[in-house]
Amino acid sequence: MALAQTYKGDALTLEQGWHMPDRGTVGIAFLIVTESALFTIFVVAYLVYIGKSLNGPMPKDVLDLPIVATICLLSSSITVVFAEHALKKGHLGAFKLWWIATIALGLEFLTATGIEWHKLIYKDHLTIRTNLFGTTYYSLVGLHASHVIVGMVFLLLVMGVTFAGFPIQTQFRRVRFLSWYWHFVDAVWVVVFTVVYVVGR
């Protein structure tokens, strides 16, 4: 009855259909917001403690710019976009190729971090308990690395089911959410890199 009555504004909207945003999209967006809040505190802690360590080693003595690792991680953001496009168009072969490239680049980044930590611990004798720099450095970089690992687990999972013959095209939405998460991890690295290796050094 009330439906029959016309009124301004809404009649138009309702006739055209009632569209709400996709819940996955909104969900992943706010997940990224809350993760950012988490990272912010670690970054702040790092910034506050720059130069406050009472004893060495200091960042300028032991930190080298991880140029190669950074390039790898950032370019994995590009390959994952290519993979996403390939999947959207249904080119499963191309998707697999780009996806493997993404994983390889991510692995390279993790390996580089591992090598860096090994050098810091065994050559420079910087551990998490050595000084404030050690504590904040391992925490912040470690927090980021743990996010990379989580991303890697999901990337590998997708790769596994794809090669097992699962119709991954049907899950395009979810693959896209994963790629957004991956972009977020990359963006955080830009911040971490700036804070730790540029400002902090």
């Binding site: 909104v26 308990r129 404030l132």
Partner: protein
């Protein structure tokens, strides 16, 4: 439209028709937002009773000077667990429970956006709570002392470092809250996505019920403010287990940094806790005044403003740590700014009542008491925001009085209003009105008797968190009065629980719309079916049921 006769008494499938294991399965495996909402609320009530008992023991200890009901260790554990429980295991699940139960119903959705995540959120909250309480028996607890945390709910560094907090008590505090916090974030995320993505046709943001608006902002605050606490707790874990130096003053770390991190979470948290009460009042007052909410836009704006400003006021908890005069001035100023939107809210609620026809049933009585008590809490809050005054009042019993006026006089009174108001929706039975009035008046009397004297004690120089005091400091009388009030409060809570049990068993049938409501939850049956609405409703104003009830004078003609 033809008139159809509907029998009020209709056969309904009852829970009793299922076997015990089936019923258990229907609750434990459920992903239904209404069941989860009720589970949250029942759990919260359970923890409320536990934390209330702890408070009673503390008041008993403080009733007389040099009292020996409990020793210092026990007392310190009591106030730590009382505060922690009330904030994380009572306040937070109430937020989650109310928004879970009501938001989908109010926006005309069948469920939350992520039903399984919702179930996960409840269970991990519950396990977090249990982990925290496990500290009474775990970690060396059975061997006599109990290792419940005793560092205060704020857990200031460096009291939490290994050097000053041996054993596992602080770890239980960290982990219990960290685990429960995952649940809070999950449920808040869910509420946000549900509100943004699941509204029924025609439910634009401007038509969304005020309750949903407030819960949306509340959830936004949760996902912004809880991660800082989690981050700080992870740092503390790193300090305690890996030998990190975040809060190690020996290695140049800063004890004040913890305070900053904690209050960046802690102050918004206070607003996270009080917002559900705002949400409830914004629904109950209009219905019982028979008028729409006065100045809806301003009310939404005020909540957004509070949510925004509250992120920038944290250091008013730290006026005594020796910040620069500029920081003190900044945080005093920003804290006082919160008073402006809060004032707007109180004025608009009052204006909603003004010119109405107030039905002073129990829910409305609680709202009226809320307005007066929250006004006092707001004004004492202004006093505390004035940094020089705060140097005297900080960490004194005045502060205890202030935030109990906010959280009991505000939040808990609001929650009671909400529980009396929506109980018929959730159970199909009305709560007994007569017991409700007894409950209300006992609670008011007990509340005022307990918490008004605390303000005086603060002015007489009594610090917080002391387990005993000497007889000649002038604190005896008001402490005794304060403790006596607990009796009436406990009676009120007991009465409420009895009312709930009795009404579920043999209460008056409520019907689907006992209060003559205007929002969508009253358009479905009580209790609602699993799918909420057989056919998703279409709305065209902020009061869809008013439109239906007044076909000649609907809101949408006016509201656009």
């Amino acid at each position: 439209m033809a008139s159809i006769d509907y029998p009020l008494e209709r056969p309904r499938p009852k829970e009793g028709e299922f076997s015990f294991s089936e019923t258990l399965y229907r609750w434990v495996a459920t992903v239904d937002h209404k069941r989860l909402g009720l589970m949250y609320i029942v759990t919260a009530l359970l923890f409320l009773v536990i934390a209330g008992l702890m408070a009673s023991v503390m008041r008993l200890q403080l009733a007389f000077p040099n009292n020996h009901v409990v020793g210092p260790e026990t007392f310190n554990r009591l106030f730590t667990m009382h505060g922690t429980t009330m904030v994380f295991l009572v306040g937070m699940p109430f937020v989650a429970g109310l928004s879970n139960y009501l938001v989908p119903l109010m926006i005309g959705a069948r469920d939350m956006a992520f039903p399984r995540l919702n179930a996960f959120g409840y269970w991990i909250f519950l396990f977090g709570g249990l982990l925290l309480y496990f500290s009474y028996i775990g970690g060396g607890g059975l061997s006599g002392h109990g290792s419940a945390p005793d560092v205060g709910w704020f857990a200031y560094a460096p009291l939490t470092s290994k050097a000053f907090s041996r054993g596992a008590s602080t770890d239980f505090w960290i982990l219990g809250i960290l685990v429960a916090g995952i649940g809070s974030v999950a449920s808040a995320l869910n509420v946000i996505v549900t509100t943004i993505c699941m509204r029924c046709p025609g439910m634009t943001l401007t038509r969304m019920p005020m309750f949903v608006w407030v819960m949306l902002i509340d959830s936004w605050l949760i996902i912004i403010a809880l991660p800082p606490l989690t981050a700080a707790q992870v740092m503390l874990l790193i300090d305690r287990f890996l030998g990190g130096n975040f809060f190690n003053t020996q290695a140049g770390g800063s004890a004040v940094l913890w305070q900053h991190f904690f209050w960046i979470f802690g102050h918004p948290e206070v607003y996270i806790l009080i917002f559900p009460a705002f949400a409830i009042l914004s629904e109950v007052i209009p219905i019982f005044s028979r008028k729409p909410l006065f100045g809806r836009a301003a009310m939404v704006g005020a909540v957004v403003a509070i949510g925004f400003i509250s992120l920038g006021v944290w250091a008013h908890h730290m006026f005594a740590v020796g910040m620069t005069s500029w920081s003190n001035t900044f945080f005093a100023a920003s804290s006082m700014l919160v008073g402006i939107p809060t004032g707007i809210k109180i004025f608009n609620w009052t204006a909603t009542m003004y010119g109405g026809k107030l039905r002073l049933d129990t829910p409305m009585l609680f709202c009226c008491a809320f307005l007066l008590q929250f006004l006092v809490a707001g004004l004492t809050g202004i006093m505390l925001a004035v940094s020089p005054f705060d140097w005297q009042l900080h960490d004194s019993y005045f502060v205890v009085g202030h935030f109990h006026f906010t959280l009991i006089g505000g939040l808990v009174f609001g929650l009671f209003a909400g529980m009396y108001y929506w109980f018929p929706k959730a159970t199909g039975k009305l709560l007994c009105e007569k017991l409700g009035r007894w409950n209300f008046w006992l609670f008011v009397i007990g509340f005022e008797t307990t918490f008004i004297p605390m303000h005086f004690l603060g002015i007489l120089g009594m610090p917080r968190r002391i387990y005993t005091y000497a007889p000649d400091r002038g604190w005896d009388f008001w402490n005794l009065v304060s403790s006596l009030g607990v009796i009436a409060q406990a009676a009120a809570i007991a009465l409420f629980i009895w009312n709930v049990i009795d009404s579920i068993r043999s209460g008056e049938k409520a019907g689907d719309d006992p209060w003559d409501g205007w929002t969508l939850e009253w358009a479905t049956s009580s209790p609602p079916p699993e799918y909420n609405f057989e056919k998703l409703p279409v709305v065209r104003s902020s009061r869809p049921l008013w439109d239906l009830k007044h076909p000649h004078d609907p809101d949408w003609k006016f509201e656009q």
